[in-house]
């Protein structure tokens, strides 16, 4: 029985214009955007390799480059916008990432607020809309046409009919999803400049699973509204407005709210804190500078110079670090506040799975800091025990690694909320349908 219902519904979906239009748009956009994004990644990766080779660190300044993430071709996140290079010395802690020319990223905001198209975007916007379009008629149209009455006059229990509709709808949504994910993966794999690891493949699979969860929420929501209304036009109207609110407006509001609830210290406050640091160290630095500018500075003079400047750099770094932590806290608050929007949750999960979110940036900076502390320690050694200094070398910097399992484990709360959202909407649709007046 269930099979018959599912088969009939799926056939109906496959014949519909909305399915074909949605599928076509999704395929064209996926092919175009993934090709461009993969090419973009390959170029950035080549730039990264060239930079590592060509711009070497010297004994004084250490330059680090951030490797672009391969899965940014699927979910660009912040990968392209946070910068690719940082430098550090005894006198300076690693600063925020910049471009290869030392420019801060985002100097020319192109189209305020619009992010570029990627697979995550296509699923978040286009396929979720398609899910809504497929779902809105599922019950209300049958009610309006009178076929619902007919169908239920047979020996079909209501729950089975609804379950059949849900499963068939999900199949109709998951089909195009599978097509676009496979298409993207094929483009990625076939690109000569790209090689995927097993871990990346697991990540792509996890992205697919999360996308299924995300789209099922919209389908279940559509089913619920379709159960609750008697006219398809009304259900579509309600659903579209809910979609605009959940996907476009609500994530925006949560960012605005987080900026107000957890404001960052002003530039003036930051400048004052930094002035206080300079003030604290000015005497030591002056003394150290005098020592080093002597005709033949001693080892103690050099050590004092090293220590005075690195102590000031460490204090500056504390001010910057505190600011950065508050930025992260603000971002977490925005993420938390936007948890009511499946679109925002989906973005967070995809960013983590693709390792293109701010957490990845923070991890990179934390590792850069650890290296900086070692560098300072080693620089001190140079003036205290030169032989020991010569015997050691600064460890090579490698980008922090994280397995797909670890990434997935870090987003379980968001995944659970997505699952719960889907279940709640389906439960509401289910109880609504059982009580529905079919006349």
């Amino acid at each position: 029985m269930l099979k018959t219902i599912i088969k009939r519904e799926i056939l109906e979906y496959l014949k519909s214009a909305k399915f074909l239009v949605g599928l076509l748009i999704a395929i064209v956009l996926t092919a175009a955007s993934t090709s461009l994004n993969v090419q973009d990644h390959a170029t950035r990766h080549q730039d990264y390799l060239d930079a590592k080779k060509e711009f070497k660190s010297n004994g004084f300044v250490i330059v680090l480059f951030r490797e672009p993430q391969i899965l940014s071709a699927f979910a660009r996140g912040k990968d392209r916008d946070v910068g690719s290079r940082t430098e550090m010395s005894v006198m300076n802690a690693p600063g925020p990432l910049t471009g290869y020319m030392g420019d801060e990223p985002g100097r020319s905001p192109a189209f305020a607020g619009f992010s570029a198209v990627d697979l995550a975007f296509i699923i978040r916007v286009i396929l979720s809309l398609m899910a809504v379009f497929l779902a809105y008629t599922s019950v209300s149209e049958e009610k309006a046409n009178g076929t619902l009455k007919l169908a239920l006059s047979n020996a079909v229990p209501r729950d089975k009919l609804l379950l059949g509709k849900l499963l068939s709808g999900l199949a109709a949504v998951v089909g195009p999803l599978a097509v676009v994910v496979l298409l993207s993966s094929a483009i990625l794999v076939l690109h000569p400049g790209v090689s995927l690891s097993a871990d990346d493949l697991v990540r792509i699979f996890l992205m697919f699973v999360v996308s299924v969860l995300y789209l099922s929420i919209f389908y279940a929501l559509g089913l619920f509204v379709s159960v609750k209304t008697d006219r398809p036009a009304v259900s579509l109207m309600i659903l579209l407005q809910a979609w605009v609110f959940l996907v476009v407006i609500y994530p925006n509001l949560s960012v605005i709210l987080s900026e107000r609830i957890a404001p960052l210290p002003s530039e003036e406050v930051l400048a004052r804190q930094k002035d206080a640091v300079s003030e604290r160290h000015i005497a030591d630095i002056k003394k150290a500078n005098e020592g080093i500018h002597q005709v033949s500075p001693t080892r103690e003079d050099r050590l004092r110079f090293n220590d005075a400047w690195s102590a000031e750099a460490a204090d500056f770094d504390q001010v910057e670090g505190e600011f950065s932590r508050r930025q992260t806290a603000q971002m977490r608050l925005a993420d938390g506040l936007s948890a009511l929007s499946p679109a925002a949750l989906y973005d967070q999960i995809m960013g983590r799975l693709a390792r293109t979110d701010i957490r990845e940036y923070d991890r990179f900076m934390e590792d850069a800091h650890r290296l900086w502390l070692k560098h300072i320690e080693r620089a001190r050694l140079r003036y205290r025990d030169e032989d020991a200094y010569k015997r050691t070398s600064l460890p090579d910097f490698s980008q922090p690694s994280e397995s797909a399992g670890e990434s997935a484990a870090s987003v379980w709360p968001q995944v659970i909320i997505l699952v719960l959202c889907g279940l709640v909407f389906f439960a509401l649709a289910y109880t609504g349908f059982l009580r529905k007046d079919l006349r």
């Binding site: 175009a32 060239d50 020319m101 192109a110 305020a112 286009i126 900026e259 002003s266 603000q330 925005a334």
Partner: protein
């Protein structure tokens, strides 16, 4: 015709979508006003402090210039919140921007809650939701036949439907915009100048042209396609393409099309350029000096100064080219996105309120004008303008057995009376200038309207009303 407009208006005004739009519009415009009041206060505070500093800092070595916060960013923010507010001017006309505002770089990238977002996204969608069934719905119900059996021309009926959609959208738009302006006027009455209100009014008119385009689009497809559900589907697909897909795709396609060199290509050219333009020339002077090619140390220093100065000019040119290339890439992205009326509307609004890259260009233009006055002042006081860049160079050389160091010439500070120091003050562009920069985009919107009106009219004339 009046009767039809009234009837249609009432019908729309009773609909669910109208009520939701009204509530959303009031809430979002109120939020827009409140957020602006808060952030403008912070920006203005810091600008006032910086201005006092700027006017007291009379230096012939380096000047810090600050941009006046735009009092109309609530209409179209145009990325201004991320742009630097501080610029440095060096003798010789070299201008460098301070750091962009990256305080919010960790937050999810969401569009700013300005008028251009609220109207560009929300009102265009509701123009569709209110208009999609105008003709197809009536045809499905059979009322279209009835209406047209009266002595009423099709053109008039279409015009009446068009006007009623516009009027019904005008209510939440006007209510929202007035609420936003009232909040701003309540907290910041000094901003309620004739110039500001006229600019906001101008954006309001452009908004009407933009919304009208979607109303016409709805009528066109409502006349072409007999089934309302399909009309809505097609219109929503177009809305997604216009509001989301074209602007977002143009970011990646535009960057690809622009022939700007990548950052690393420029970065790797930097050192060879400095070697060729400065180090090689200085090395030659050093060798010549050691060979006894200069009569005096002063001759050698003068030759090195010349080489350094020419080198600084080349470095500045190099950076100028890099910035221009970046700017061209930005323009390529923006030009491509102009395929979408949503982008046309946003850029027209930015043009009128002088935000966005155009606003920054205007500021830099004024800085360029001022730099000539500044250089003339330095020339008058010090007798020479040393073109400076953000880089300095130094070389050590043995001349006549004596070790001397050749350093790049640095601009000198004038120590005398600076009471006649020219002060930089930013001028607000006239409304005419704003309108001029928005004209192209506005014409684009008008053109869309004319084409769609023509198409909607001819489609409706051919519609089979049976």
């Amino acid at each position: 015709m009046k009767t039809i407009i009234r009837r249609e208006f009432l019908e729309h005004a009773q609909s669910l979508q109208f009520m939701v739009l009204l509530v959303l519009s009031l809430a979002l415009f109120a939020g827009n006003g409140l957020i602006f009041v808060e952030s403008y206060g912070v920006h203005m505070d810091s600008y006032q402090k910086n201005l006092a500093f700027m006017n007291s800092w009379k230096s012939t070595v380096r000047l810090e210039l600050f941009r006046l916060p735009n009092s109309l960013v609530f209409v179209a923010e145009g990325g201004d919140n991320k742009r630097p507010s501080e610029y440095y001017l060096l003798p010789g006309g070299q201008v460098t921007a301070g750091s962009p505002n990256l305080r919010a770089f960790k937050l999810p990238p969401v569009p700013p809650l300005d008028w251009s977002f609220i109207i560009g996204v929300l009102f265009s969608l509701y123009a569709i939701l209110l208009g999609y069934s105008s003709i197809s719905g009536e045809r499905e119900q059979g009322t279209l036949r009835l209406v047209l059996s009266n002595s009423l021309g099709r053109a008039k009926l279409l015009a009446a439907k068009y006007i009623s959609i516009l009027l019904v959208l005008l209510v939440p738009l006007l209510a929202g915009a007035l609420l936003s302006l009232t909040i701003i006027a309540g907290f910041l009455p000094q901003l309620l100048t004739l110039a500001n209100v006229s600019r906001a009014g101008l954006v309001f008119i452009i908004a009407l042209a933009y919304i009208s385009l979607f109303a016409l689009l709805s009528l066109l497809f409502s006349a072409l396609i007999p089934r309302s559900a399909l009309v809505l589907l097609v219109l929503l697909a177009i809305w997604v393409v216009f509001s989301v897909i074209i602007p977002s795709s143009s970011v990646i396609i535009g960057e690809k099309l622009a022939a700007a060199p990548r950052e690393i290509q420029t970065a790797r050219m930097f050192e060879p350029m400095v070697d060729k333009e400065i180090s090689a020339k200085i090395e030659e002077i050093v060798k010549r000096g050691e060979r006894g090619g200069f009569k005096t140390e002063e001759d050698m220093r003068a030759a090195a100064d010349r080489a350094f100065e020419e080198g600084q000019v080349k470095v500045n040119q190099f950076y100028g080219d890099f910035r221009r290339a970046q700017r061209q890439r930005l323009e390529a992205v923006r030009d491509l996105s102009r395929l979408s009326p949503a982008a046309l509307f946003q850029y027209a609004a930015e043009g009128v309120v002088r935000s966005g890259p155009g606003g920054e260009d205007q500021f830099l233009q004024q800085v360029g004008d001022y730099s000539r006055v500044y250089d003339a002042y330095i020339l008058k006081k010090l007798g020479k303008v040393v073109p400076a860049s953000n880089f300095s160079f130094g070389e050590s050389v043995t001349f006549n057995g004596k070790k001397i160091s050749l350093d790049s010439p640095e601009p000198r500070e004038y120590e005398g009376d600076k009471s006649d120091f020219p002060v930089f003050s930013e001028r607000q562009a006239s409304i005419g200038a704003g309108l001029k920069s928005a004209l192209g985009d506005l014409l684009g919107l008008v053109l869309w309207n004319i084409i769609l009106a023509g198409l909607a009219f001819s489609a409706f004339l051919r519609t089979d009303v049976r």
